[in-house]
């Protein structure tokens, strides 16, 4: 396994299964922890911890007030930031964010934008004067492949947990008054879910690759779908060429996965809202 990893894998793939016992189209067990009681981040306005097999990703959302940009006076901001600290895997060094972290951050920003998960106009409190800024920090605690899926999931779960205090602008003083007692949940319009595939030898497609599988794969594909079966994002950064039909298979699989994940999220949210 250490000397000839590719050959070792090929033998398994010929039998249509993988070393950890999974089928080619099977996902690892997914667990989600949302909220202040179960999750570690008590200072964040919303937080979630997602475990996809061994890959652990935690997402914290903090809401702050700021003046909106001059050209889009009725829009707030969402700033995702993905961090891959060196504790999560030996190949990441400490220091400025590497290419993978930056590409992941950009990907998450694109998903938020494309899927219209949070419409920026909803974040506006007073036109031209005050708007919310949501800083979403996604930190990987343990990297075992499939970072993008776990990050998108963690982000979605954390955002569903966010409670924004209501803010009113005092007419006389022009200052904002934050009412921490009265909290409203964030309006989430769409629920995007990412599904990642690894391509082997230009032909085989496996779902939810582990870190080992990702290294051996000749390419990766990530598809983000929302509940209407629309594609929010197709991300295939290079790697072996795929035919249109193969891509179609991936998309159908992604749509099935979306339903599974949505059920999971709904179940978890229902279990933590006693009020």
């Amino acid at each position: 396994r250490t000397v000839e990893p590719l050959e070792y894998y090929r033998r398994f793939l010929k039998e249509n299964c993988r070393p950890d016992g999974r089928e080619l189209g099977e996902f690892r067990t997914t667990t989600v922890n949302i909220g202040k009681c179960l999750c570690s981040i008590t200072t964040a306005d919303g937080s979630a911890l997602v475990k996809l097999g061994n890959t652990t990703v935690i997402c914290g959302v903090k809401a702050e007030l700021a003046a909106p940009a001059a050209d889009s006076a009725n829009k707030g901001y969402i700033v995702p930031n993905v961090e891959l600290p060196s504790l999560c895997a030996e190949r990441f060094r400490s220091g400025p964010p590497g290419e993978e972290a930056q590409a992941a951050s950009q990907f998450i920003a694109d998903v938020i934008e494309n899927s219209q998960m949070i419409v920026k106009e909803d974040l506006c409190i007073a036109n031209g004067k005050l708007a919310w800024v949501l800083y979403c920090d996604i930190i990987c605690l343990d990297y075992d492949g499939n970072l993008l899926d776990a990050s998108v999931f963690a982000l979605l779960a954390a955002l569903k947990n966010v409670q924004l205090p209501s803010v009113t602008i005092n007419e006389e003083t022009g200052l904002s008054e934050v009412n921490l007692k009265q909290k409203n949940p964030l309006v989430i319009r769409k629920h995007p879910v990412a599904t990642s595939f690894a391509v082997f030898d230009d032909t085989l497609l496996i779902v939810d690759p582990t870190a080992e599988e990702e290294d051996l794969a000749t390419g990766t594909v990530t598809i983000v779908t929302d509940e209407e079966g629309r594609l929010c994002s197709v991300h295939k950064p290079g790697g072996s060429p795929l035919t249109g039909a193969k891509l179609q298979d991936c998309i159908t699989r992604a749509i099935t996965r979306h339903k599974e994940v949505k059920k999971l999220i709904d179940k978890v949210i229902k279990s933590i809202t006693p009020k």
């Binding site: 950009q106 290079g238 998309i251």
Partner: protein, 186 residues
């Protein structure tokens, strides 16, 4: 194509730094410089897309422990920037004479609000579009080498755009052949 222009410079295969060299293949590096400002997160993700696309076609195993650097400078941006970069990268690889498994070309499709597909959109058309899909199509069997989408679309729409992109790829490959012929016939 149009007013978007990207200048590509390719250096390599050259000696690689010990920290960067790979024992069995060439290490490919892509640097994308925007027209104004420092490269940011967007450039980084574009660089990653370009790098992995090039890695799939360049036969790196023929040149182990070397480094191939591709530097792209954006001269002007009037829409379809990513596919312009892809085309520039491929032509640079061709011009340098690096061994390639296949050629690739970049095609951008814009899906307009009324459902019509527009190939190679301008910046204005990109803004109005409901979704923008960029594909890198390989010359061997017109397979999809790279795909990115901005904005949401349905499965059927994506397939239609893909088919349109594959047809357009033929025109672009013809352009490659003509340019190379012109260059080497003098």
């Amino acid at each position: 194509p149009g007013d978007t222009s990207v200048l590509a410079g390719l250096y390599g295969p050259a000696e690689a730094k010990v920290s960067k060299e790979l024992p069995d293949r060439a290490a490919l590096e892509v640097l994308l410089r925007p027209k104004v400002g420092l490269p940011g997160v967007l450039e980084r993700s574009r660089e990653q897309l370009l790098r992995q696309t090039c890695e799939a076609v360049v036969l790196g195993v023929l040149h182990p422990r070397t480094a191939i650097s591709l530097v792209l400078q954006v001269l002007s941006d009037a829409g379809s920037l990513l596919s312009c970069c892809l085309n520039a990268a491929c032509m640079a690889l061709l011009d340098a004479g690096l061994p390639l498994a296949a050629l690739f070309c970049g095609v951008t499709c814009a899906l307009q609000p009324d459902g019509t597909i527009l190939l190679d959109p301008t910046a204005r058309q990109e803004q109005e579009a409901r979704a923008i899909l960029t594909f890198a199509i390989a010359s061997s069997e017109r397979k999809v080498l790279m795909a990115t989408t901005k904005g949401s679309c349905s499965m059927e729409e994506m397939q239609q755009c893909l088919a349109a992109a594959q047809r357009a790829a033929d025109t672009i490959f013809q352009f490659y052949r003509d340019s190379v012929r012109r260059r080497y016939s003098k």
